[in-house]
Protein backbone atom coordinates (compact mmCIF):
# COMPACT_ATOMS: atom_id res chain seq x y z
CA UNK A 1 0.00 0.00 0.00
CA UNK A 2 1.35 3.44 -0.91
CA UNK A 3 1.63 6.28 1.58
CA UNK A 4 -1.15 8.03 -0.24
CA UNK A 5 -3.40 4.99 0.14
CA UNK A 6 -2.59 4.67 3.81
CA UNK A 7 -3.34 8.30 4.47
CA UNK A 8 -6.51 8.17 2.42
CA UNK A 9 -7.83 5.30 4.49
CA UNK A 10 -6.80 6.77 7.82
CA UNK A 11 -9.21 8.70 10.02
CA UNK A 12 -8.07 12.30 9.98
CA UNK A 13 -9.14 13.94 13.21
CA UNK A 14 -10.84 17.27 13.83
CA UNK A 15 -7.68 19.16 14.76
CA UNK A 16 -6.23 18.39 11.32
CA UNK A 17 -9.16 20.06 9.56
CA UNK A 18 -7.04 22.83 8.05
CA UNK A 19 -4.31 20.49 6.77
CA UNK A 20 -4.02 19.71 3.07
CA UNK A 21 -3.21 15.95 2.97
CA UNK A 22 -1.54 16.45 -0.40
CA UNK A 23 1.35 18.20 1.31
CA UNK A 24 2.37 14.92 2.96
CA UNK A 25 5.02 13.39 0.75
CA UNK A 26 7.06 11.28 3.15
CA UNK A 27 7.22 9.93 6.67
CA UNK A 28 9.78 9.10 9.31
CA UNK A 29 9.81 7.49 12.72
CA UNK A 30 11.85 10.08 14.55
CA UNK A 31 9.22 10.30 17.25
CA UNK A 32 11.52 11.78 19.90
CA UNK A 33 11.82 14.79 17.60
CA UNK A 34 8.07 15.32 17.45
CA UNK A 35 6.99 18.83 18.41
CA UNK A 36 3.56 20.08 19.49
CA UNK A 37 1.39 20.27 16.39
CA UNK A 38 3.34 17.71 14.33
CA UNK A 39 1.05 15.22 12.60
CA UNK A 40 1.39 11.60 13.64
CA UNK A 41 -0.08 8.55 11.97
CA UNK A 42 -0.88 5.95 14.61
CA UNK A 43 -2.82 2.73 14.95
CA UNK A 44 -5.35 2.03 17.65
CA UNK A 45 -3.90 -0.56 20.03
CA UNK A 46 -6.27 -0.88 22.99
CA UNK A 47 -9.51 1.01 23.58
CA UNK A 48 -9.80 2.99 26.80
CA UNK A 49 -11.53 6.25 27.67
CA UNK A 50 -11.98 7.37 24.10
CA UNK A 51 -13.83 4.93 21.86
CA UNK A 52 -14.40 7.55 19.19
CA UNK A 53 -12.41 10.22 17.48
CA UNK A 54 -13.83 13.44 16.09
CA UNK A 55 -13.71 13.93 12.33
CA UNK A 56 -13.27 17.22 10.45
CA UNK A 57 -16.81 16.79 9.15
CA UNK A 58 -18.07 17.36 12.67
CA UNK A 59 -19.21 13.84 13.43
CA UNK A 60 -17.66 11.30 15.78
CA UNK A 61 -16.26 8.09 14.38
CA UNK A 62 -16.06 4.84 16.28
CA UNK A 63 -12.53 3.49 16.37
CA UNK A 64 -11.41 -0.12 16.54
CA UNK A 65 -8.07 -1.77 17.27
CA UNK A 66 -5.99 -1.59 14.13
CA UNK A 67 -7.59 1.60 12.80
CA UNK A 68 -5.19 4.15 11.37
CA UNK A 69 -5.70 7.66 12.71
CA UNK A 70 -3.97 10.96 11.91
CA UNK A 71 -3.59 13.18 14.96
CA UNK A 72 -1.46 16.04 16.20
CA UNK A 73 1.16 15.69 18.87
CA UNK A 74 0.10 17.78 21.85
CA UNK A 75 -0.32 18.27 25.55
CA UNK A 76 -3.58 18.26 27.41
CA UNK A 77 -4.89 19.81 30.59
CA UNK A 78 -8.29 18.46 31.59
CA UNK A 79 -8.85 17.92 35.31
CA UNK A 80 -11.93 15.83 34.52
CA UNK A 81 -9.86 13.54 32.29
CA UNK A 82 -6.14 13.66 31.69
CA UNK A 83 -3.05 15.68 31.97
CA UNK A 84 -0.72 14.80 29.12
CA UNK A 85 2.47 15.98 27.50
CA UNK A 86 3.47 16.42 23.85
CA UNK A 87 5.79 13.44 23.80
CA UNK A 88 5.61 10.44 21.49
CA UNK A 89 7.10 7.15 22.63
CA UNK A 90 7.66 4.81 19.71
CA UNK A 91 6.50 1.89 21.86
CA UNK A 92 3.12 3.40 22.56
CA UNK A 93 1.27 6.68 23.03
CA UNK A 94 -2.01 7.89 24.46
CA UNK A 95 -5.08 9.35 22.85
CA UNK A 96 -5.34 12.42 25.06
CA UNK A 97 -8.39 13.95 23.40
CA UNK A 98 -10.93 12.72 20.89
CA UNK A 99 -10.39 15.79 18.76
CA UNK A 100 -7.07 14.23 17.78
CA UNK A 101 -4.42 14.92 20.39
CA UNK A 102 -1.74 12.26 20.81
CA UNK A 103 0.88 12.37 23.56
CA UNK A 104 1.87 10.86 26.87
CA UNK A 105 -0.62 10.77 29.72
CA UNK A 106 0.92 11.77 33.05
CA UNK A 107 -2.17 12.07 35.26
CA UNK A 108 -5.72 10.76 35.14
CA UNK A 109 -8.93 11.57 36.98
CA UNK A 110 -9.73 8.50 39.06
CA UNK A 111 -13.31 8.42 37.79
CA UNK A 112 -12.41 7.73 34.18
CA UNK A 113 -10.82 4.88 32.30
CA UNK A 114 -7.19 4.77 31.21
CA UNK A 115 -6.43 6.46 27.93
CA UNK A 116 -6.93 4.65 24.67
CA UNK A 117 -3.51 3.32 23.67
CA UNK A 118 -1.97 3.96 20.28
CA UNK A 119 1.02 2.63 18.39
CA UNK A 120 2.75 5.44 16.49
CA UNK A 121 3.41 4.45 12.89
CA UNK A 122 4.87 7.56 11.32
CA UNK A 123 5.53 11.24 11.60
CA UNK A 124 4.22 12.96 8.49
CA UNK A 125 6.71 15.01 6.47
CA UNK A 126 6.57 17.62 3.75
CA UNK A 127 8.62 17.54 0.54
CA UNK A 128 11.31 19.67 2.16
CA UNK A 129 11.71 17.08 4.93
CA UNK A 130 10.07 19.18 7.63
CA UNK A 131 7.38 17.68 9.75
CA UNK A 132 3.85 18.59 8.78
CA UNK A 133 2.68 20.84 11.58
CA UNK A 134 -0.65 22.54 12.29
CA UNK A 135 1.12 25.89 12.49
CA UNK A 136 1.85 25.69 8.77
CA UNK A 137 -1.88 25.82 8.09
CA UNK A 138 -2.81 28.52 10.56
CA UNK A 139 -4.81 31.57 9.61
CA UNK A 140 -2.66 34.25 8.10
CA UNK A 141 -2.64 37.90 9.06
CA UNK A 142 -5.58 39.98 7.94
CA UNK A 143 -5.47 43.58 6.81
CA UNK A 144 -6.22 45.93 9.66
CA UNK A 145 -9.96 46.40 9.94
CA UNK A 146 -12.11 47.65 12.74
CA UNK A 147 -11.64 45.11 15.50
CA UNK A 148 -14.84 43.60 16.87
CA UNK A 149 -15.71 44.19 20.49
CA UNK A 150 -14.97 41.20 22.69
CA UNK A 151 -17.06 39.72 25.51
CA UNK A 152 -14.98 37.31 27.61
CA UNK A 153 -16.42 34.22 29.25
CA UNK A 154 -14.50 32.85 32.23
CA UNK A 155 -15.36 30.21 34.79
CA UNK A 156 -14.34 28.47 37.96
CA UNK A 157 -13.42 25.21 36.28
CA UNK A 158 -14.20 22.75 33.51
CA UNK A 159 -17.93 22.11 33.27
CA UNK A 160 -18.93 25.25 35.12
CA UNK A 161 -21.13 26.33 32.20
CA UNK A 162 -18.80 28.49 30.11
CA UNK A 163 -19.51 26.88 26.75
CA UNK A 164 -23.27 26.99 27.22
CA UNK A 165 -23.02 30.62 28.31
CA UNK A 166 -20.90 31.45 25.27
CA UNK A 167 -23.28 29.75 22.86
CA UNK A 168 -26.40 31.26 24.43
CA UNK A 169 -24.93 34.77 24.41
CA UNK A 170 -24.02 34.26 20.75
CA UNK A 171 -27.66 33.32 20.14
CA UNK A 172 -28.95 36.37 21.99
CA UNK A 173 -26.63 38.75 20.18
CA UNK A 174 -27.53 37.25 16.82
CA UNK A 175 -31.24 37.59 17.59
CA UNK A 176 -30.60 41.20 18.54
CA UNK A 177 -29.25 41.80 15.05
CA UNK A 178 -25.51 41.76 15.51
CA UNK A 179 -22.98 39.82 13.48
CA UNK A 180 -21.33 37.61 16.07
CA UNK A 181 -18.10 35.67 16.23
CA UNK A 182 -17.49 32.86 18.71
CA UNK A 183 -13.95 32.04 19.72
CA UNK A 184 -12.48 29.37 21.93
CA UNK A 185 -9.31 31.06 23.12
CA UNK A 186 -7.65 28.20 25.00
CA UNK A 187 -8.04 24.49 25.62
CA UNK A 188 -7.52 21.34 23.58
CA UNK A 189 -8.91 20.99 20.06
CA UNK A 190 -12.32 19.36 19.92
CA UNK A 191 -15.51 19.88 18.00
CA UNK A 192 -17.95 19.94 20.90
CA UNK A 193 -17.64 23.62 21.72
CA UNK A 194 -17.00 24.50 18.09
CA UNK A 195 -20.24 22.83 17.01
CA UNK A 196 -22.24 24.35 19.86
CA UNK A 197 -21.12 27.83 18.82
CA UNK A 198 -21.97 27.05 15.20
CA UNK A 199 -25.39 25.72 16.12
CA UNK A 200 -26.15 28.98 17.89
CA UNK A 201 -25.75 30.79 14.59
CA UNK A 202 -22.37 32.44 15.08
CA UNK A 203 -21.32 34.16 11.86
CA UNK A 204 -17.75 33.08 12.51
CA UNK A 205 -16.39 30.31 14.73
CA UNK A 206 -12.72 29.81 15.42
CA UNK A 207 -10.43 28.25 17.95
CA UNK A 208 -6.73 28.06 18.70
CA UNK A 209 -6.45 25.20 16.20
CA UNK A 210 -7.25 27.71 13.48
CA UNK A 211 -4.25 29.63 14.79
CA UNK A 212 -2.03 26.56 14.51
CA UNK A 213 -2.15 24.91 17.94
CA UNK A 214 -3.63 21.55 18.90
CA UNK A 215 -3.71 22.75 22.49
CA UNK A 216 -2.71 25.86 24.36
CA UNK A 217 -1.48 23.91 27.39
CA UNK A 218 2.19 24.68 28.01
CA UNK A 219 2.34 27.05 25.07
CA UNK A 220 4.08 30.40 25.63
CA UNK A 221 1.75 33.20 26.67
CA UNK A 222 2.80 35.40 23.77
CA UNK A 223 1.89 32.69 21.27
CA UNK A 224 -1.55 32.33 22.82
CA UNK A 225 -2.11 36.09 22.80
CA UNK A 226 -1.05 36.27 19.17
CA UNK A 227 -3.43 33.44 18.35
CA UNK A 228 -6.31 35.25 20.05
CA UNK A 229 -5.53 38.44 18.15
CA UNK A 230 -5.46 36.42 14.93
CA UNK A 231 -8.86 34.88 15.61
CA UNK A 232 -10.42 38.22 16.52
CA UNK A 233 -8.97 39.76 13.36
CA UNK A 234 -10.45 36.90 11.35
CA UNK A 235 -13.85 37.52 12.95
CA UNK A 236 -13.54 41.17 12.00
CA UNK A 237 -12.57 40.20 8.46
CA UNK A 238 -15.74 38.11 8.30
CA UNK A 239 -17.80 41.15 9.22
CA UNK A 240 -18.44 40.44 12.88
CA UNK A 241 -19.40 43.38 15.12
CA UNK A 242 -18.76 41.49 18.30
CA UNK A 243 -17.02 38.35 19.49
CA UNK A 244 -17.88 36.13 22.43
CA UNK A 245 -14.64 34.51 23.60
CA UNK A 246 -14.51 31.53 25.93
CA UNK A 247 -11.34 30.99 27.94
CA UNK A 248 -11.11 27.36 28.98
CA UNK A 249 -10.80 25.81 32.41
CA UNK A 250 -10.75 27.71 35.68
CA UNK A 251 -9.21 30.98 36.75
CA UNK A 252 -6.26 29.20 38.34
CA UNK A 253 -5.32 27.04 35.34
CA UNK A 254 -1.83 27.88 34.09
CA UNK A 255 -2.59 29.60 30.77
CA UNK A 256 -5.90 31.09 31.86
CA UNK A 257 -4.30 32.56 34.96
CA UNK A 258 -1.51 34.07 32.90
CA UNK A 259 -3.87 35.47 30.30
CA UNK A 260 -6.25 37.21 32.68
CA UNK A 261 -3.39 38.56 34.78
CA UNK A 262 -1.89 40.23 31.73
CA UNK A 263 -3.12 43.85 31.44
CA UNK A 264 -3.59 43.09 27.75
CA UNK A 265 -6.64 41.00 28.67
CA UNK A 266 -8.42 43.80 30.49
CA UNK A 267 -7.86 46.03 27.47
CA UNK A 268 -9.08 43.32 25.10
CA UNK A 269 -12.48 42.63 26.64
CA UNK A 270 -15.37 45.06 26.71
CA UNK A 271 -17.52 42.78 28.81
CA UNK A 272 -17.15 39.75 31.01
CA UNK A 273 -19.35 36.83 32.05
CA UNK A 274 -18.30 34.54 34.88
CA UNK A 275 -19.64 30.99 35.08
CA UNK A 276 -19.65 29.23 38.43
CA UNK A 277 -21.38 26.49 40.33
CA UNK A 278 -22.51 28.08 43.55
CA UNK A 279 -22.48 31.24 45.62
CA UNK A 280 -19.19 30.53 47.34
CA UNK A 281 -17.51 29.93 43.99
CA UNK A 282 -19.05 33.16 42.77
CA UNK A 283 -17.65 35.10 45.70
CA UNK A 284 -14.20 33.58 45.31
CA UNK A 285 -14.10 34.10 41.58
CA UNK A 286 -15.34 37.66 41.69
CA UNK A 287 -12.83 38.51 44.44
CA UNK A 288 -9.99 36.93 42.47
CA UNK A 289 -10.96 38.81 39.32
CA UNK A 290 -11.18 42.05 41.29
CA UNK A 291 -7.56 41.62 42.32
CA UNK A 292 -6.75 41.59 38.60
CA UNK A 293 -8.86 44.65 37.92
CA UNK A 294 -11.59 42.66 36.21
CA UNK A 295 -15.27 43.05 37.07
CA UNK A 296 -17.80 40.68 35.50
CA UNK A 297 -21.01 42.11 34.12
CA UNK A 298 -22.91 39.03 35.20
CA UNK A 299 -22.68 35.58 36.75
CA UNK A 300 -24.00 32.50 35.01
CA UNK A 301 -23.39 28.77 34.81
CA UNK A 302 -24.58 25.99 37.06
CA UNK A 303 -25.39 28.47 39.84
CA UNK A 304 -28.15 29.91 37.65
CA UNK A 305 -30.03 26.59 37.67
CA UNK A 306 -31.00 27.13 41.30
CA UNK A 307 -33.07 30.18 42.24
CA UNK A 308 -31.82 29.90 45.82
CA UNK A 309 -28.18 29.65 44.83
CA UNK A 310 -28.72 32.52 42.41
CA UNK A 311 -30.14 34.70 45.17
CA UNK A 312 -27.19 33.90 47.40
CA UNK A 313 -24.69 34.64 44.64
CA UNK A 314 -26.43 37.84 43.64
CA UNK A 315 -26.60 39.07 47.20
CA UNK A 316 -22.98 38.19 47.87
CA UNK A 317 -21.52 39.62 44.69
CA UNK A 318 -23.92 42.38 43.76
CA UNK A 319 -23.96 41.01 40.22
CA UNK A 320 -26.97 39.74 38.30
CA UNK A 321 -27.16 35.99 37.79
CA UNK A 322 -28.24 35.18 34.25
CA UNK A 323 -29.75 31.90 33.14
CA UNK A 324 -29.09 30.46 29.71
CA UNK A 325 -32.50 31.79 28.68
CA UNK A 326 -31.49 35.27 29.81
CA UNK A 327 -28.29 35.15 27.78
CA UNK A 328 -30.18 33.98 24.70
CA UNK A 329 -32.69 36.80 25.11
CA UNK A 330 -31.86 39.57 22.64
CA UNK A 331 -33.01 42.20 25.12
CA UNK A 332 -30.39 41.00 27.61
CA UNK A 333 -27.72 40.47 24.98
CA UNK A 334 -28.24 43.97 23.60
CA UNK A 335 -27.05 45.34 26.93
CA UNK A 336 -23.72 43.55 26.51
CA UNK A 337 -23.34 44.93 23.00
CA UNK A 338 -24.22 48.48 23.97
CA UNK A 339 -21.89 48.41 26.96
CA UNK A 340 -19.22 47.22 24.53
CA UNK A 341 -19.76 50.36 22.51
CA UNK A 342 -21.88 48.97 19.68
CA UNK A 343 -24.34 51.70 18.94
CA UNK A 344 -27.22 51.79 16.53
CA UNK A 345 -25.21 52.10 13.34
CA UNK A 346 -23.19 48.94 13.88
CA UNK A 347 -26.14 46.57 13.88
CA UNK A 348 -26.67 44.20 10.97
Amino acid sequence: MTLADTLAQAKWTFVTRRVDPACVTATDTDFPAAQPGDLILAHVDRLGQHRRVQLPSGRPSLIFPGDAVVMACGSRYAPDQFEGLAEIDAEGADLLAGGGCIGRMVARNSRIKPATRLVPAARLLRADGRAVNLAQFALGPRPATQRPSVIGVLGTSMNSGKTLATAQLVLGLRRAGFRVGAIKATGTGAFGDFNEYSDSGAHYVGDFTDAGMVTTYLEPLDRIKTAIETLIAEAGHRGCDIVVMEVADGLLQRETAALIADPWFARLVSGLVFACGDAVAAMGGVAHLAQLGLVPDALTGLVSCSPMASSEAQAASGLPVLTKEDLADPAEATGFALRAGLGRKEAA
Binding site: R175, G177, L338, R344
Partner: protein, 273 residues
Protein backbone atom coordinates in the same frame (compact mmCIF):
# COMPACT_ATOMS: atom_id res chain seq x y z
CA UNK B 1 -58.89 41.05 3.67
CA UNK B 2 -58.47 42.77 0.29
CA UNK B 3 -56.02 45.60 -0.15
CA UNK B 4 -58.01 47.22 -2.95
CA UNK B 5 -56.14 50.50 -3.05
CA UNK B 6 -52.80 48.77 -3.15
CA UNK B 7 -53.89 46.29 -5.77
CA UNK B 8 -54.76 49.09 -8.18
CA UNK B 9 -51.57 51.09 -7.55
CA UNK B 10 -48.04 50.62 -8.86
CA UNK B 11 -46.90 49.53 -5.40
CA UNK B 12 -45.87 45.95 -4.85
CA UNK B 13 -47.45 44.14 -1.94
CA UNK B 14 -46.25 40.94 -0.40
CA UNK B 15 -47.09 39.13 2.79
CA UNK B 16 -44.37 37.50 4.82
CA UNK B 17 -44.53 35.40 7.97
CA UNK B 18 -41.70 35.24 10.47
CA UNK B 19 -41.30 32.51 13.06
CA UNK B 20 -39.71 33.04 16.45
CA UNK B 21 -39.72 31.54 19.91
CA UNK B 22 -42.46 34.04 20.71
CA UNK B 23 -44.76 32.88 17.92
CA UNK B 24 -45.60 33.65 14.31
CA UNK B 25 -46.01 37.17 13.02
CA UNK B 26 -47.20 38.14 9.53
CA UNK B 27 -46.79 41.46 7.84
CA UNK B 28 -47.55 43.28 4.63
CA UNK B 29 -44.45 44.52 2.83
CA UNK B 30 -45.33 47.42 0.58
CA UNK B 31 -42.62 48.60 -1.78
CA UNK B 32 -42.81 51.74 -3.86
CA UNK B 33 -41.74 51.78 -7.48
CA UNK B 34 -39.26 54.60 -6.88
CA UNK B 35 -37.27 53.86 -3.75
CA UNK B 36 -35.70 56.54 -1.63
CA UNK B 37 -32.46 55.99 0.23
CA UNK B 38 -34.20 55.89 3.59
CA UNK B 39 -35.04 53.21 6.15
CA UNK B 40 -38.29 51.32 5.87
CA UNK B 41 -41.18 52.42 8.05
CA UNK B 42 -42.75 49.83 10.34
CA UNK B 43 -46.42 50.67 10.93
CA UNK B 44 -47.87 49.18 14.11
CA UNK B 45 -51.59 49.02 14.71
CA UNK B 46 -53.36 49.47 18.04
CA UNK B 47 -55.90 47.33 19.81
CA UNK B 48 -58.35 47.64 16.91
CA UNK B 49 -55.73 45.59 14.99
CA UNK B 50 -56.51 47.54 11.81
CA UNK B 51 -53.34 46.65 9.94
CA UNK B 52 -55.20 46.56 6.62
CA UNK B 53 -56.59 50.02 7.10
CA UNK B 54 -53.21 51.43 8.07
CA UNK B 55 -51.60 49.74 5.08
CA UNK B 56 -54.20 51.26 2.77
CA UNK B 57 -53.84 54.74 4.24
CA UNK B 58 -50.04 54.75 4.44
CA UNK B 59 -49.48 53.18 1.01
CA UNK B 60 -49.96 56.34 -1.11
CA UNK B 61 -47.55 58.21 1.16
CA UNK B 62 -45.08 55.35 0.93
CA UNK B 63 -45.23 55.63 -2.85
CA UNK B 64 -44.91 59.43 -2.78
CA UNK B 65 -41.88 59.38 -0.48
CA UNK B 66 -40.27 56.22 -1.87
CA UNK B 67 -40.41 54.48 1.51
CA UNK B 68 -40.90 50.77 2.00
CA UNK B 69 -43.63 49.99 4.51
CA UNK B 70 -43.70 47.00 6.86
CA UNK B 71 -47.14 46.56 8.37
CA UNK B 72 -47.33 43.71 10.90
CA UNK B 73 -50.62 42.25 12.06
CA UNK B 74 -51.01 40.82 15.55
CA UNK B 75 -54.19 38.69 15.37
CA UNK B 76 -56.33 38.58 18.50
CA UNK B 77 -56.36 34.80 18.70
CA UNK B 78 -52.59 34.31 18.70
CA UNK B 79 -51.55 37.69 20.13
CA UNK B 80 -54.09 38.66 22.80
CA UNK B 81 -51.29 40.74 24.34
CA UNK B 82 -48.95 42.58 22.03
CA UNK B 83 -48.52 46.09 23.42
CA UNK B 84 -45.44 45.32 25.48
CA UNK B 85 -43.00 42.56 26.34
CA UNK B 86 -44.40 40.71 29.32
CA UNK B 87 -44.44 37.31 30.93
CA UNK B 88 -47.46 36.51 28.76
CA UNK B 89 -46.07 37.59 25.41
CA UNK B 90 -42.89 38.75 23.73
CA UNK B 91 -43.97 40.75 20.68
CA UNK B 92 -40.47 42.26 20.62
CA UNK B 93 -38.98 38.88 19.73
CA UNK B 94 -41.53 38.39 16.96
CA UNK B 95 -40.79 41.83 15.54
CA UNK B 96 -37.04 41.24 15.60
CA UNK B 97 -37.55 37.97 13.73
CA UNK B 98 -39.74 39.80 11.23
CA UNK B 99 -37.10 42.48 10.66
CA UNK B 100 -34.44 39.81 10.19
CA UNK B 101 -36.64 38.03 7.66
CA UNK B 102 -37.26 41.25 5.75
CA UNK B 103 -33.54 42.03 5.78
CA UNK B 104 -32.74 38.58 4.41
CA UNK B 105 -35.32 38.82 1.65
CA UNK B 106 -34.68 42.45 0.72
CA UNK B 107 -30.91 42.98 0.86
CA UNK B 108 -31.33 46.64 -0.05
CA UNK B 109 -33.02 47.34 3.29
CA UNK B 110 -30.86 45.50 5.83
CA UNK B 111 -30.50 48.14 8.50
CA UNK B 112 -32.43 49.78 11.29
CA UNK B 113 -35.99 50.99 10.71
CA UNK B 114 -38.24 53.91 11.50
CA UNK B 115 -41.28 52.88 13.53
CA UNK B 116 -44.74 54.37 13.67
CA UNK B 117 -47.29 53.09 16.14
CA UNK B 118 -50.80 54.15 16.99
CA UNK B 119 -52.30 53.66 20.45
CA UNK B 120 -51.27 50.17 21.58
CA UNK B 121 -48.89 50.10 18.62
CA UNK B 122 -47.21 53.22 19.97
CA UNK B 123 -46.79 51.46 23.29
CA UNK B 124 -45.06 48.57 21.57
CA UNK B 125 -42.99 50.90 19.39
CA UNK B 126 -41.37 52.85 22.20
CA UNK B 127 -40.78 49.74 24.29
CA UNK B 128 -39.13 48.01 21.36
CA UNK B 129 -36.88 51.03 20.86
CA UNK B 130 -36.01 51.08 24.56
CA UNK B 131 -34.79 47.49 24.40
CA UNK B 132 -33.21 47.59 20.94
CA UNK B 133 -32.22 51.17 20.16
CA UNK B 134 -29.71 49.96 17.60
CA UNK B 135 -32.57 48.67 15.44
CA UNK B 136 -34.52 51.94 15.37
CA UNK B 137 -33.63 55.14 13.50
CA UNK B 138 -36.70 57.21 14.39
CA UNK B 139 -39.86 56.83 16.45
CA UNK B 140 -43.34 58.14 15.69
CA UNK B 141 -45.72 57.55 18.56
CA UNK B 142 -49.37 58.42 18.05
CA UNK B 143 -51.76 58.58 20.97
CA UNK B 144 -50.38 55.89 23.22
CA UNK B 145 -52.58 55.21 26.23
CA UNK B 146 -49.58 55.32 28.53
CA UNK B 147 -45.83 55.12 28.39
CA UNK B 148 -42.80 53.64 30.06
CA UNK B 149 -41.09 56.77 31.31
CA UNK B 150 -37.31 56.77 30.88
CA UNK B 151 -36.72 57.57 34.54
CA UNK B 152 -37.32 56.17 38.00
CA UNK B 153 -40.28 58.38 38.89
CA UNK B 154 -42.62 55.41 38.46
CA UNK B 155 -42.35 51.69 38.90
CA UNK B 156 -42.01 49.45 35.89
CA UNK B 157 -43.89 49.20 33.52
CA UNK B 158 -44.84 52.88 33.95
CA UNK B 159 -41.23 53.88 34.50
CA UNK B 160 -37.85 52.36 35.27
CA UNK B 161 -38.01 52.16 39.05
CA UNK B 162 -37.59 48.47 39.92
CA UNK B 163 -40.49 46.72 41.56
CA UNK B 164 -40.62 43.41 43.39
CA UNK B 165 -41.44 41.24 40.40
CA UNK B 166 -38.43 39.34 39.05
CA UNK B 167 -39.45 39.63 35.41
CA UNK B 168 -39.98 43.36 35.80
CA UNK B 169 -36.55 43.62 37.40
CA UNK B 170 -35.03 41.99 34.35
CA UNK B 171 -36.77 44.39 32.02
CA UNK B 172 -35.70 47.36 34.12
CA UNK B 173 -32.11 46.17 33.94
CA UNK B 174 -32.33 45.67 30.18
CA UNK B 175 -34.06 48.99 29.55
CA UNK B 176 -31.58 50.81 31.74
CA UNK B 177 -28.64 49.25 29.91
CA UNK B 178 -29.97 50.59 26.61
CA UNK B 179 -31.36 53.90 27.90
CA UNK B 180 -28.62 56.21 26.71
CA UNK B 181 -28.78 54.84 23.16
CA UNK B 182 -32.57 55.03 23.26
CA UNK B 183 -32.45 58.71 24.19
CA UNK B 184 -30.50 59.40 21.00
CA UNK B 185 -33.45 58.29 18.85
CA UNK B 186 -35.38 61.19 17.31
CA UNK B 187 -38.95 60.83 18.54
CA UNK B 188 -42.18 62.51 17.46
CA UNK B 189 -45.15 62.11 19.76
CA UNK B 190 -48.48 62.86 18.08
CA UNK B 191 -51.78 63.36 19.88
CA UNK B 192 -55.15 64.86 18.99
CA UNK B 193 -56.17 67.96 20.87
CA UNK B 194 -59.50 66.25 21.51
CA UNK B 195 -57.99 62.99 22.71
CA UNK B 196 -58.99 63.76 26.27
CA UNK B 197 -61.70 61.15 26.83
CA UNK B 198 -61.26 58.60 29.58
CA UNK B 199 -62.72 55.86 27.42
CA UNK B 200 -62.92 52.16 28.22
CA UNK B 201 -59.71 51.41 26.35
CA UNK B 202 -57.67 53.86 28.42
CA UNK B 203 -55.81 52.40 31.36
CA UNK B 204 -56.87 54.29 34.44
CA UNK B 205 -55.05 53.83 37.70
CA UNK B 206 -54.34 56.33 40.41
CA UNK B 207 -50.62 56.01 39.93
CA UNK B 208 -50.89 56.46 36.18
CA UNK B 209 -53.29 59.40 36.41
CA UNK B 210 -51.00 61.08 38.90
CA UNK B 211 -47.72 60.19 37.25
CA UNK B 212 -48.59 60.64 33.58
CA UNK B 213 -51.90 62.51 33.41
CA UNK B 214 -55.61 61.77 33.20
CA UNK B 215 -55.88 61.27 29.43
CA UNK B 216 -53.82 60.57 26.31
CA UNK B 217 -53.15 64.21 25.49
CA UNK B 218 -51.80 64.93 28.95
CA UNK B 219 -49.81 61.71 28.97
CA UNK B 220 -48.22 62.52 25.60
CA UNK B 221 -47.18 65.96 26.90
CA UNK B 222 -45.83 64.42 30.08
CA UNK B 223 -43.88 61.79 28.14
CA UNK B 224 -42.18 64.27 25.83
CA UNK B 225 -41.17 66.34 28.83
CA UNK B 226 -39.81 63.23 30.55
CA UNK B 227 -37.91 62.11 27.45
CA UNK B 228 -36.18 65.43 27.01
CA UNK B 229 -35.42 65.74 30.70
CA UNK B 230 -33.88 62.27 30.72
CA UNK B 231 -31.83 63.14 27.65
CA UNK B 232 -30.52 66.30 29.25
CA UNK B 233 -29.69 64.41 32.42
CA UNK B 234 -27.74 61.89 30.36
CA UNK B 235 -25.93 64.56 28.41
CA UNK B 236 -27.77 63.65 25.21
CA UNK B 237 -29.30 66.35 23.00
CA UNK B 238 -33.09 66.28 23.56
CA UNK B 239 -34.73 64.85 20.45
CA UNK B 240 -38.41 64.45 21.37
CA UNK B 241 -41.14 66.66 19.90
CA UNK B 242 -44.82 66.90 20.69
CA UNK B 243 -47.09 67.36 17.67
CA UNK B 244 -50.70 68.11 18.50
CA UNK B 245 -53.34 67.48 15.86
CA UNK B 246 -56.10 70.08 16.06
CA UNK B 247 -59.64 68.76 16.33
CA UNK B 248 -58.52 65.16 16.34
CA UNK B 249 -59.61 62.60 18.90
CA UNK B 250 -58.31 59.02 19.19
CA UNK B 251 -59.38 58.00 15.68
CA UNK B 252 -56.31 57.17 13.59
CA UNK B 253 -58.27 57.27 10.33
CA UNK B 254 -59.35 60.80 11.16
CA UNK B 255 -55.77 61.71 12.05
CA UNK B 256 -54.53 60.44 8.70
CA UNK B 257 -57.31 61.75 6.48
CA UNK B 258 -57.88 65.11 8.18
CA UNK B 259 -54.52 65.84 9.78
CA UNK B 260 -52.17 64.22 7.26
CA UNK B 261 -50.63 62.02 9.92
CA UNK B 262 -49.18 59.48 7.47
CA UNK B 263 -47.68 62.24 5.34
CA UNK B 264 -46.22 63.96 8.41
CA UNK B 265 -44.69 60.71 9.62
CA UNK B 266 -43.10 59.86 6.30
CA UNK B 267 -41.95 63.42 5.66
CA UNK B 268 -40.52 63.87 9.14
CA UNK B 269 -37.24 62.15 8.42
CA UNK B 270 -35.42 65.16 7.04
CA UNK B 271 -36.49 67.31 9.96
CA UNK B 272 -35.65 64.68 12.54
CA UNK B 273 -32.19 63.58 11.54
Amino acid sequence: MKDTLIETSPLTLRRVTACSSAGRLSARIIRPVRRADAPPMVVLHGISRNAGTLARLFAPEGERTGRTLIVPHFPADTWPDFQRPSKAARPDLALLALLDLVASEYPDIPGPVDIFGHSGGAQLAHRLAMLYPHRVTALHLAAAGWYCRPDETMRYPYGLAPGKDAFAAKLVRRNTAALRDFLHIPTCVYVGTEDVTRDDALRKTRALDTGQGPHRRARACSYVTALNAAAEAAGVPPRARLIEMPGCDHDVVCAITQNDLAARVLDARTALI
